[in-house]
Symmetry: C2
Subunit: 165 residues, 2 copies
């Protein structure tokens, strides 16, 4: 059974109680919608999308709609100060590719996801469902967890606005 | 007197105890070092610094070393897809200027700082000390608080690695 919050308790320290509450959150509880593009999109179109959606990174999918890459503001900036024609070069040329993408699962704890974000120095992780197809693991993108989601959860906990999970 | 954590308590709910602990952290407890440049630096040099320091934004200071602007990856990206000569144009042309900069104070609560970060949709805030000079308020940059600091604090709290503050 999951721990409940909201009752008065008698024999547990504040620290362990807080640790317990903080560790009960799952990625699915706080994730947001991902911004997704095809590999063939131009870098220019991807940058325009980045501004329109006001997001920090875009997840790239192959022709079967499975995750194949991720591009961040940092990747785009590196490209735009270079010589590439951003109207012609597709995002697939500059994206970070599988298997170098760090991902999260829906049922993973938020704490585990934050650990990945901090250790790999990225702003967000694609939230994925894994399936085996032709003996290969394919990843379907179902969400996104970012530092912003974490900041919002922190605020909710500090204001006690969280729903019980 | 500041609340202490680490004792067993008998009459307080988990929620209010956690709220109390989360609200006791101050900006000075978790801030990091800022990356600072002069207004006259070229956009190109600023971008190079951004990559070398692996940071998301740079704080810009005037000739008296007071805060005058802030430039983010987003500002740089907007510029590099435009026509500007990034080797010649100084950062002061593209930076967000005072009084449009959202700042934090050392003794401000982390919760208040996160609220500003989320509401103004920025990645970090300059931490400043204010002083009056010639009847004008001047801001000295003494630190930086970012979403990464928040993510690290969340991890520390979840692992119970925090020092008492």
């Amino acid at each position: 059974a999951k721990p409940r919050v909201g009752y008065t308790f008698k024999s547990e320290g504040v620290e362990s109680a807080m640790r317990r509450v903080l560790n009960q959150y799952r990625v699915k509880d706080i994730q947001s919608l991902p911004v997704i593009m095809k590999e063939s999109c131009s870098i220019y179109d991807a940058i325009v999308t980045l501004f329109i959606e006001d997001t920090g990174s875009i997840f790239v999918v192959d022709e079967n709609k499975y995750l194949s890459g991720i591009v961040s503001r940092k990747d785009f900036l590196k490209t735009t100060i270079g010589q590439a024609d951003i109207h012609k070069v597709p995002v697939s040329v500059i994206m970070t590719r599988m298997p170098n993408i760090v991902t999260a699962a829906l049922d993973e704890t938020v704490v585990a996801a934050i650990k990945k974000i901090v250790e790999h120095e990225v702003d967000s992780l694609p939230v994925v469902k894994s399936r085996i197809e032709d003996e290969e693991e394919k990843l379907e993108v179902v969400g996104k967890i970012s530092k912003t989601n974490i900041a919002r959860l922190f605020l909710d906990l500090a204001a006690n606005k969280t729903k019980e999970v």
